[in-house]
Amino acid sequence: MSTRDGVVYGVGALRAAARGDRVMWAVHRAALAHGIVPVVSVAAVAEAFRTEARGDRLEALLAGVEVEALTEEGARRAGELAARADTTDLVAAATADTAVRRNAAVVSTRQNALRTAASLLGHDLVLYAV
């Protein structure tokens, strides 16, 4: 068991916040209170806005989040990782890639794609499944 330096939100975390999950908001508050700014991939943001009606709640959460832009290099990494993980879930691949690079724990839904992608990068995923 190794420690983590930060927190990455997957699309599941954003959905939980949009739906008013109080545990999700309590974790978010705790992170900020400790000076930890959670990170989310821009792909997860796009997916959350595609599926969630409560854009106002997403905006409130994202006010305290670092949205990691997808560079050409990052897009290539995520695509190749998704291929290796045999998944079409590019958001999960991008989230896993971000978590591994930043040595961060992940808050998201329980997804095999996420765990497989992290494992392919030699990272034991620390996940809180909302």
Binding site: W25, V27, G35, G64, E66
Partner: protein, 89 residues
């Protein structure tokens, strides 16, 4: 776009920033700017939490404690899963 400001720092803080910037391979200004940006993000984020609480009701002391404990476990490398019982829309 960059704005130049003259700032005063306590000697020990300036020395610590200098060392941290060197360690991170960035300039003194870039390190300070990044630290300020992070602090502003935390501040905006806590306002976001307050906005949500304004609509959904304030987090209780128990919920805050649970969030703290959960964060601590995650940073310690322990995975977990939400209890459906605790969830509320």
């Amino acid at each position: 776009m960059v704005t130049k400001r003259s700032v005063s720092l306590v000697d020990e803080v300036a020395a610590a920033v200098e060392a941290a910037a060197k360690e991170d391979g960035v300039s003194f200004s870039a390190w300070l700017s990044s630290a300020a940006e992070r602090q502003l993000r935390v501040r905006q984020g806590l306002r976001g939490v307050a906005a949500w609480e304004g609509e959904a009701g304030s987090l209780t002391a128990e919920e805050i404690a649970a969030g703290e404990a959960l964060l601590g476990r995650l940073l310690s490398g322990v995975s977990g899963m939400a209890s459906r019982v605790r969830r509320r829309q």
